[in-house]
């Protein structure tokens, strides 16, 4: 659907982001911290990218979902991930 509309849709975003978050945990646990941080940063950028274009997501028109609340929830997830990145980065020697 994303390819057809030219805009990433919510389900694709979530599917992709969940996989990347799981992968970031694995990277951190394997002590590949730089890679884990890069992965987390990439998730933040993707959520940002989607938030900027969510008005164009046709999928959202198909479901009775409150867009403002959805945006807030995605922003909260993004905020939490940013906070993890900042906290982790601050532990650098």
């Amino acid at each position: 659907m994303g390819e057809e509309t030219g805009v990433l849709d919510l389900l694709n975003l979530i599917g992709k982001v969940i996989e990347e978050l799981q992968s970031s945990i694995e990277l951190f646990e394997a002590s590949k911290h730089e890679d884990g941080l890069t992965q987390l940063s990439s998730v933040v950028l993707e959520i940002d990218y989607y938030l900027e274009r969510s008005d164009d997501d046709l999928l959202l028109k198909l479901v009775p979902i409150d867009r403002a609340s959805l945006r807030e929830r995605l922003k909260a997830v993004k905020g939490e991930l940013v906070s993890v990145i900042e906290s982790f980065s601050s532990t650098a020697p």
Binding site: V63, A76, V77
Partner: protein, 267 residues
Amino acid sequence: MNEAKKHRFAALSNEQLIELLRLSLKGTSDSLYLSCLREEIISRNVGLVKSIAVGFLNSGEPLDDLIQAGYMGLLNAVANFDLARNTRFSTYASHLIKGEIRHYIRDKHSTIRIPQWVQVMNRKVKEAEEAFFKEEGHPPTIAELADCLDISESQLVELLRGRKAMTYISIDQERRSVDPNPSPPDIAHFCPRGENLSFDFRMRIIIAIEELAEIKQQVIEGLFYQGKSQTEVGKELGVSQRQVSRMKEQILREMKGKLAGPHREGD
């Protein structure tokens, strides 16, 4: 408050008042006297709490709520202040007040759910700390607290890592031996570079995944069980019902592809 007592308290410093409170808790002082002492300590530090809370106004939270959170930090400071460290009470209290306000803001600004088990265990830890302090007159060490909760020290440490705001009491005990004037530990204390992902980070990422999975579930339910008719959507989008139908079919195909793939999402 009894006026004579009030005058007597007024001549004492914060540190002396707290020492008096400690001694009174160990002795046979009546509850009215103890409550007067506490009231005096709190009332003379109201300005400190307010001035710190004002610094967090850009969080968007009402000042009253920030002040309330700050009072929690002040009460914790009263309960845990240690005269032996030669630190001024206001310095120590400032750290705890800030920590409690930050914790409050973080909780308010996140719609991410804290897992039920973490909430329950946090409450038990807090209750055990309070009960221990009431009984013994000093805050528990990690070993003592673990014993009260009937869990291992390492399990307790993991729990405390999960809630940053709760760490200062026990971790402070460890740090006193090397640092006479410690500030509250931050996350770096628990997660030096080169070590595994800390409990706190891992939990926060996992909770983010859970939140996203919940949104996904709602969207899917909305799409297939409560959605508008294809004709309605078509009208809104300015496309035909047939095009809407194709759109849905494509979403279904993509979802089937993902579910059949080698890596399933964690929901």
